[in-house]
Symmetry: C2
Subunit: 317 residues, 2 copies
């Protein structure tokens, strides 16, 4: 922390997954504004075309390469195809940085989940980032590129509650992968960062609210969320609590709730600032048990309604 130099995206080639909407698009805009060559990958060609138009508006130099490719990133094979296409756009050279912004969630009750809900949950919250990181790490090591890999987890990578059984595990798993690689990829001078954004008011958020149980919404009640622009600024520059990729920090958080969870759930993760994090930690010692008791009270009070719901959908008779 004390010795890290600031990372400057100017002139670097940055690969952003999920770059056509939400956080991925907002990060891409910031990177283009800072002079980076940006390659985005997402599934929907129409959204990619629109995103490219938006990114073009922000270019700072005619030599900047701004490219878009349509691929799914849910399997190792497709992620490899996407990565190779991104490299091919730069004569085969591995990107200097990879920002894993693709992902999705579908909150619901555990007992109502199908096998597919659980498997797709893990694919959309973990593998969609892990495959690209795996392919990128191998190629960066082969080419000797001393770059960056950025994961996007969630506040739900630190803590979790009713409704998130097919999402919080994957977000926790990303923390496990990010922390392993932050340690292991030191061997190759590759930096690894994990972002834990709170609720972001994006198209995905509208989507996830369609299946989200009422009790989960009630517990989230007070969480206003960030816009994707605010979240992208935090991720890169660390507007909040002195974090951010440019400052080289391991875990990046964007609001006071997540910061207090981060400080109280650091494990062996480097602290961003020993004094400030210790204060957050002290705050969390008192605040989080109170928060948890409130949530437990809400869940317990919801029991009768929930049993009625299970009877209505035919799970119970």
């Amino acid at each position: 922390m004390f010795f890290s130099k600031s990372w400057n995206p100017d002139g670097k080639h940055v690969y952003v997954t999920g770059g056509s909407t939400g956080l991925g698009l907002s990060v891409s805009i910031l990177l283009v504004k800072k002079g980076a060559h940006v390659s985005i990958v997402a599934r929907n060609q129409e959204k990619l075309d629109k995103a490219l138009e938006t990114l073009e508006e922000h270019r700072t130099s005619p030599s900047q390469k701004i490219l878009a490719y349509s691929y799914s990133l849910l399997s190792a094979e497709d992620s490899e195809k996407a990565y190779k296409a991104v490299c091919a756009g730069h004569d085969g050279r591995a990107p200097d940085a990879v920002f894993n912004c693709a992902g999705a969630s579908k909150p619901m009750f555990f007992v109502e989940m199908t096998k597919e809900d659980l498997e797709q949950g893990m694919a959309n919250s973990f593998w969609i980032e892990a495959w690209t990181a795996w392919i990128a790490a191998k190629e960066m090591v082969r080419q000797g590129v001393k770059g960056k890999i950025v994961f996007v987890s969630s506040t739900l990578g630190y803590m979790t509650f009713v409704g998130w059984a097919n999402y919080a595990p994957g977000r926790h798993a990303l923390r496990g992968l990010g922390d392993t690689l932050a340690s292991e990829l030191r061997l190759y001078d590759i930096g690894v960062h994990t972002f834990f954004p709170p609720t972001m008011v994006t198209a995905s958020y509208v989507e996830e609210n369609k299946t989200k149980p009422e009790i989960t919404k009630a517990i989230e009640g007070t969480d206003d969320g960030l816009t994707s622009e605010q979240a992208a600024a935090v991720l890169l520059r660390g507007e909040f609590s002195e974090s951010g990729v440019e400052k080289g920090q391991s875990h990046i958080t964007g609001d006071w709730i997540t910061s207090s969870f981060r400080a109280s759930t650091r494990g062996a993760t480097p602290m961003n600032n020993w004094v400030i994090d210790s204060l957050w930690n002290f705050f969390a010692l008192f605040a989080i048990p109170i928060w948890r008791r409130t949530v437990e009270y809400q869940i317990d009070a919801h029991k009768a309604d929930h049993m009625e719901h299970l009877r209505k959908i035919g799970f119970l008779h």
Copy 2:
């Protein structure tokens, strides 16, 4: 914590996965000694037969049902077959408690992992427990069984380092699932506990050491480990730091290293004891940054050797 009653396995039906060896067998022995009906599932019939013999030696009453079934637990389908067989042994009634003790690890360098190493890593560190928990939760809710689901994670569910990229994510994911369900299954009065054992000196440990990178072994150097008997005692009775399933605690740890990680990585997890955990937390504030710097120094010093290794295996030229 303050109001929880002690859980008594006497007369209960407990399903233990991975019950033929290691922690699963040691837990099964303790449960049989305490008068529980125990059903174990594992793959190898020969080991199951031997385990049954051992369990029979510890029975306290002729009416105790001690049963064993051979199934793989890596897929949802096989886990469901195993669970149904276990219920069938008790006229279709769902077990009162499920102890998820099956699992395996294969540590190695991330850039050397194949797609299969990553997928099998997640299967053996996460799905092997998640599928059974999912099937058990649904059946317990249907039958109104107010029981327990126990996950076995690892110290590597709290923290991680070089070599564990296909294991630490799954162990972190189990924490995410355990914490989600500890919240969600309150709706049905089902208790959820997650155990974070340190190194256990078992057959699996011998197996994992075959692929473990030297740098990973060097970092683990000072960790003596527990026997599976010691770990089983901690899990049930909480010999250490006042934890254990019988005391109804959420996160269970078995040595001072993991306890300091637990206290400093609690997130929204209930503390086992506010005062003692705060002391662990205070200790961790100083001890863990020192530990991490030591590990980072070890990894950095290993760079040249590692590059030589990558050339030797043909990854680099």
